[in-house]
């Protein structure tokens, strides 16, 4: 049975502890992730006295952490999304800045290029006007290479960032693993929850969620398990850590950093499973903004190169020779996958813009630029009639309209003896205009050469592949690095068009042999100048083009803007969600100083009163002693 002295002593201890907890709360007001604690005061077990039960004073049952699991889970998710859009916005703004910074320049230089075409059309024999065309073209080239240079740099920078974040992910994982271990130990031996350790772990997990989105599962022993957000890959399972790694994809020379995880000894790419956190934001930026912008800018440039070149082929220069390449035409190879086993390494697969030429069955006049020395029926000799020439040109323009801002993945199938064509980003099989899957057969009917979305894929010189060999082609990124004016001699600018002479007087020019018009003719250069206003890009199913060349560029700029403003809206929304959840957490778990001040007073008073009990007990004892003193 507790007596007054014991009760008093226990009570002072109890309130001392309560004051300790209050002080701990005040001390941690600034600690990130701290959950307020409360000393749970219980009345002590009643003892059996001779007359009924009477209590034994008070004691501290436990120090409770004011913590709600569901709020913390929400907070982790919200933090993951918030930090994703935060990162996404900051990198997107960087790219947007590049576009905005070069925007006026590109518009201006493109206008000046076409103005110079117009000036030359006014005055086709003037050597100054001719020279001006070449200089303006070179100016625009350097303006664009400035922009594509920064885009390329951003790719490299993104690679570096991914690598960096993956490293942070691993470090965070290691520290969570360490805390996990301590938590399990404390729970096993102490019996009481290690409140501050749990706070630390929660905070570490929250920070981890800022790097990538995750799912957590609590184990009975107090440990926590971490999985990727889609629940497919364990990161911390049974407190065993699975490290992530950042490395280049399997396609040689692609130099594209992806996130991999070690699944039973095999490296598995999980970039698509990461949707949140800084890593998710960065990957989304790369996929939906950077790659897209580069490909869209590439389509505009490919359109410019192909249309100007082909219109240039239609005409004749000052000396009456057929127009040659104005810009360096697109011509590139494929990149092979490291795991390919066939002999072909991609360098013999050729992708170019060659809309009417079939190397396996060459037709006269289908393979410009025309060589005046070529003997018909050579493919690079002029077509038989002006009408054929025009038809080929129309086909070429229609093919330009087929360009898509896409990257291609080619997979060899030995059963079908040909290549399947897929979108490299989405993996979907591409369909032709009739809705059938695109397929390039090595035998008949394609003989290894086929036009897909305006581009000619030529496997005729390729070595033998084996089944499942994969190659990728990024034609619209290639042009960014190889956009070049190669015409150098002003005299070779093809200003003159087809002769107006109707030799058989039938009222038609289409049946005439292609012949140069007079020295001062400007038909061809006027048509090149007109390409500025002509809609040639992004045709619909009926072949009606939707965009001009500048329109192709502004499509890119618009998409950049949409991405930024979309991200901005998302970020605001996610910030609001985060703030709301955080408010809830604060309301439940946050420290309120006024409350602590009140508690301080309360427990102090209680402590003083308890001390008074001891005092009273002392004086009672003294009274007793005094009563028996002699």
């Amino acid at each position: 049975m507790a007596d007054m002295l014991t009760i008093g002593t226990n009570a002072t201890n109890t309130f001392k502890r309560a004051l300790d907890v209050t002080s701990h709360n005040v001390a941690n007001i600034g600690t990130e992730g701290y959950n307020r604690q409360r000393a749970e005061i219980l009345s002590d077990a009643p003892g059996n006295a001779s007359v009924g039960f009477h209590g034994g004073g008070s004691k501290i049952g436990t120090v409770q952490r004011m913590y709600a699991d569901f709020i913390q889970t929400q907070l982790v998710d919200a933090n993951s999304q918030k930090s994703r859009y935060n990162e996404q916005l900051s990198v997107a703004k960087q790219l947007e800045g590049v576009v905005a910074g070069n925007d006026a320049g590109i518009q201006d230089f493109m206008q000046r290029l076409f103005d110079s075409f117009h000036n030359l059309a006014n005055n086709p024999t003037s050597s100054t006007s001719r020279q001006q065309v070449i200089s303006e073209s070179t100016n625009m080239e350097s303006m664009l290479s400035n922009m594509s240079g920064v885009l390329g740099e951003t790719q490299v920078q993104t690679n570096g960032q991914i690598e960096n974040i993956v490293q942070q992910v691993n470090e965070k994982l290691t520290s969570i693993q360490a805390i996990n271990k301590e938590v399990a130990n404390s729970t096993n031996y102490g019996g009481q929850p290690p409140n501050d350790l749990l706070d630390q772990r929660d905070e570490a997990i929250k920070q981890f969620s800022g790097l990538m989105d995750i799912k957590t599962f609590k184990q009975p022993d107090g440990r926590i398990e971490i999985y990727t957000a889609d629940g497919r890959y364990p990161l911390l399972n049974d407190n065993v850590r699975t490290n992530l790694s950042a490395s280049f994809t399997d396609f040689r020379n692609e130099q594209r950093m992806e996130v991999f995880i070690d699944v039973s000894g095999k490296q598995k790419m999980i970039s698509d499973s990461v949707q949140g956190g800084q890593l998710g934001g960065l990957l989304d930026f790369r996929k939906n903004m950077l790659d897209k912008s580069m490909n869209e800018l590439g389509v505009a440039l490919n359109g410019l190169v192909a249309s100007v070149n082909w219109q240039h082929y239609q005409g004749y220069d000052l000396n009456g020779n057929p127009g040659q390449d104005f810009y360096q035409p697109l011509s590139m190879n494929a990149m092979e996958k490291a795991t390919n086993t066939g002999a072909e390494d991609g360098t013999n697969i050729k992708v170019s813009f060659n809309p009417v030429y079939d190397p396996s069955a060459p037709v006269q006049g289908t393979n410009p630029p025309f060589d005046p020395a070529a003997v018909p029926p050579a493919a690079n000799a002029q077509p038989a009639t002006y009408g054929d020439k025009q038809t080929n040109f129309q086909t070429a323009m229609a093919q330009i309209g087929e360009f898509k801002a896409r990257e291609y993945e080619l997979t060899f199938s030995s059963a079908l003896n040909g290549y399947e064509v897929r979108d490299y980003r989405t993996g979907e099989v591409l369909n032709d205009a009739a809705g059938n899957p695109q397929f390039i057969s090595l035998g008949a009917p394609d003989n290894g050469v086929k036009n897909v979305e305006g581009l000619q894929f030529d496997f005729s010189a390729a070595l033998a592949p084996t089944d499942g060999d994969q190659f990728i082609v990024k034609p619209h990124q290639e042009i960014l690095n190889n956009f070049k004016t190669i015409i150098a001699d002003p005299e070779t600018l093809a200003t003159r068009g087809q002769s107006s002479q109707d030799t058989n007087n039938d009222g038609l020019l289409t049946d005439e042999v292609p012949t140069a018009s007079a020295y001062g003719d400007n038909v061809n250069i006027a048509n090149i100048a007109s390409l500025q206003s002509k809609k040639i890009l992004y045709s619909d199913q009926n072949g009606n083009a939707a965009e001009t060349i500048l329109g192709g560029y502004s499509k890119m700029a618009t998409n950049v803007g949409m991405y930024v403003s979309g991200t901005q809206i998302q970020l605001t929304a996610q910030e609001n969600v985060f703030n709301q959840v955080n408010d809830r957490r604060e309301a439940y778990s946050g420290v309120n100083l006024d409350e602590e001040a009140a508690n301080l007073l309360r427990f102090q008073q209680a402590y003083q009163a308890s001390a008074q009990i001891i005092q009273t007990s002392q004086s009672l004892f003294q009274s007793l002693l005094g009563a028996v003193r002699l």
Binding site: H118, G497, S530, S533, M562
Partner: protein, 351 residues
């Protein structure tokens, strides 16, 4: 609901931050004067601004094209006017010389003056502009002369594109291309953005080169060119030289040199040539008017485009300044609230 001490701090700071961001935003827009400074500000407007810029700049280029075309046409007009003056003088002399009061010697003396007129007309017909291009050689602007001495009929002249300009293999081939003058200058937006071969042009373009054969031809000429006007009878040349005004003048001179009175045919042919040249001059004037009309239309169009662009791109200053003031006030209030709230704590009252 409980409120944690951190919460009020967060909230105040959040508010301050928001207002500061808004101020930054308005500040940029006000200082650049533009509502759209980067694609993200208004992606759709960005696209519209691009196409508006393109249209405006292209219209400016069309204006420049029009000015250039006009300068070419003025030169052509001047050349034709000079020729008309010369022919008128020749016609007066022809009427005078028909009169029997003038004898053979008078006619021979007049032939000398006609010789000068021939030189003048020949010169304008071979007119070269500042770029060294022949005005009246169609598109064969680089030929040495638009009207070359007729190799079949010495003393006469043939257009470089005419069959008379050559004989056998000894002389240069006929320059058939000179019969087309396909240089068209674009002065307005084109429906199909395409200029076809065939010397036809289209409505958005104005022709600035003409072939001399068409300009200086005497339509339905009746004069017969003869080897010697003094001969009895004179033998008609075979083939006949080109029926252009220059050759009519040469024939006139030859007639006078032979001491003969010019035939009525010569005078009527000169009349016909005058009518033809006046027509051509009117046509050139018409082209200039088209350029002017197109310029005016372009200006109006440009103005409306500029206005539209301004509406899309420019910042409304009044609105911008009031927004700025609004956010500034809000920021000040938020800052004051922050200090007020932070001052109130129960700890201040203990002791």
């Amino acid at each position: 609901m409980r409120v944690s001490s951190n919460q009020s701090q967060f909230q105040s700071f959040d508010a301050i931050n928001k207002h500061q961001q808004a101020i930054m935003d308005v500040q940029e827009k006000l200082s650049t004067g533009k509502r759209v400074n980067r694609p993200g500000d208004d992606p759709i407007a960005m696209n519209q601004i691009h196409s508006l810029n393109k249209s405006i700049n292209t219209l400016t280029q069309f204006e420049k094209n029009g000015q250039f075309a006009k300068s070419q046409l003025v030169q052509e007009e001047t050349a034709i006017s000079g020729t008309i003056d010369g022919i008128q003088r020749a016609r007066e002399l022809a009427i005078l010389m028909k009169n029997d009061t003038y004898g053979a010697n008078d006619r021979k003396a007049t032939a000398l003056e006609i010789g000068q007129i021939i030189e003048q007309v020949k010169n304008t017909m071979n007119y070269t502009n500042s770029e060294g291009e022949k005005l009246f050689a169609g598109n064969s602007v680089n030929v040495a002369e638009a009207f070359v001495p007729d190799p079949n009929n010495p003393g006469y002249y043939a257009y470089v594109g005419s069959t008379n300009s050559t004989v056998g293999a000894a002389t240069a081939a006929i320059d058939v291309q000179a019969n087309f003058g396909a240089r068209f200058v674009q002065i307005g937006f084109d429906a199909d953005n395409q200029l076809d071969a065939g010397d036809l042009g289209d409505s958005s373009r104005v022709r600035i080169t003409d072939n001399g054969d068409r300009v200086f031809k005497v339509p339905n000429a009746t004069t017969q060119f003869v080897d010697d006007p003094a001969g009895t009878p004179p033998v008609a040349l075979n083939p006949q030289p080109d029926a252009n005004i220059l050759n009519i003048l040469v024939e006139f001179q030859k007639t006078l040199q032979a001491g003969k009175a010019p035939a009525d045919n010569l005078v009527t042919d000169m009349d016909k040539s005058l009518t033809q040249l006046a027509d051509i001059r009117a046509e050139i004037g018409g082209r200039q008017n088209r350029i002017d009309a197109q310029y005016d239309a372009g200006q109006t169009f440009k103005l409306s485009l500029e206005e539209r662009k301004m509406n899309i791109e420019q910042m409304d200053l009044v609105q911008g300044i009031s927004t700025l003031t609004q956010h500034q006030n809000a920021l000040q209030i938020a800052q004051q609230i922050f200090s007020k709230v932070q001052n109130s704590s129960l700890f201040n009252f203990i002791n």
